[in-house]
């Protein structure tokens, strides 16, 4: 990570010098105070205050997520390609290679754990709110299609029989998909009940 150390009379002054030198703006950097000798009390006008800052360029979250993901894949002994594409609010990392089953885990358990940890890691010291979505061999896309089919067929049955049905527990991301699909479906409403990780969707007839 690129960084500079600057000594100046005030924090503002030091930061300004550093930003000019790095040629970036304030949102792209991390600032640490290394030394500070503040002038205190009544005699302050006699002292000269001094501050030393270290200003480093923050890694952008896409770079960080990709780097972490690659590191983990190497650790798992999986050779694979990582493909990045962005859409508003999301950064998708698609992995393709050998041993994708191991990366995905049963019902996507490993893939979800990995995605969760990488999201925590990249958002820890960065305000960027884009979510990282990790997919392996198109697993999430296929899952989405399956969920869509499931949601529609159950909604159909609920409407026909006029009786509510409870789906099996799903992670938040999958529940969101089901809610979205059935949002515009007339005759049924959806809501969730229970606590994570056993929170489930209920599809119920309207009125």
């Amino acid at each position: 990570m690129k960084s500079v150390e600057v000594v100046a009379k005030t924090r503002e002054e030091a930061l300004e010098i550093a930003l000019k030198e790095l040629n970036v703006d304030e949102s792209q950097v991390k600032v640490e105070v290394l030394e500070e000798s503040a002038s205190k009390g009544l005699l302050s006008f006699l002292n000269v205050s001094k501050i030393k800052l270290r200003v480093s360029i923050k890694e952008d979250i896409t770079e960080k997520a990709t780097r972490l993901l690659r590191e983990i894949l190497v650790n798992m002994g999986i050779s694979a390609q990582v493909e990045v594409f962005k859409r508003p609010g999301y950064i998708n990392l698609n992995v393709n290679g050998d041993n994708m089953g191991r990366l995905i885990g049963r019902h996507g358990k490993t893939l979800n754990a990995l995605q969760y940890l990488i999201n925590i890691a990249v958002h820890k010291d960065n305000k960027d709110t884009d979510r990282i979505i990790i997919d392996a061999a198109g697993y999430r896309r296929r899952r989405e299609e399956n969920l869509e089919r499931l949601a529609l067929s159950i909604a159909d049955r609920v409407k026909r029989k006029g009786r509510k049905e409870i789906l099996y527990p799903m992670p938040p991301q999958e529940r969101r998909i089901v809610h979205l699909i059935l949002q515009d479906y007339n005759g049924v409403i959806t809501y969730s009940e229970g606590e994570d990780p056993r929170r489930r969707i209920v599809i119920s007839p309207e009125k």
């Binding site: 972490l68 590191e71 983990i72 650790n75 798992m76 191991r102 990366l103 885990g105 358990k109 490993t110 979800n112 754990a113 990995l114 969760y116 940890l117 990488i118 925590i120 890691a121 820890k124 010291d125 994570d196």
Partner: protein
């Protein structure tokens, strides 16, 4: 097992591995202030770490992941 270092802001992360009864014990120790962070809400983070460690280890290898006090 470098995986752990991704979660913490401190450099005070230590990972110790030990063989016991045919299982591999992985002991993680972190800075006091990071303990909450590594456990997560209702243990969500530590569970995710375990899941990932199990997936990394060979299938026949039993692995226990513990947090040092």
């Amino acid at each position: 097992m470098l995986v752990k270092s991704i979660v913490d802001h401190e450099d005070e992360v230590q990972v110790r591995e030990e063989e016991s009864d045919g299982a591999l014990l992985v002991e993680i120790s972190v800075h006091e202030d990071d303990i909450g962070r590594i456990i997560g809400k209702r243990g969500r983070v530590i569970k995710a770490i375990r899941t990932l460690v199990w997936a990394t280890a060979p299938p026949e290898q039993r692995v226990l992941v513990e947090l040092a006090e």
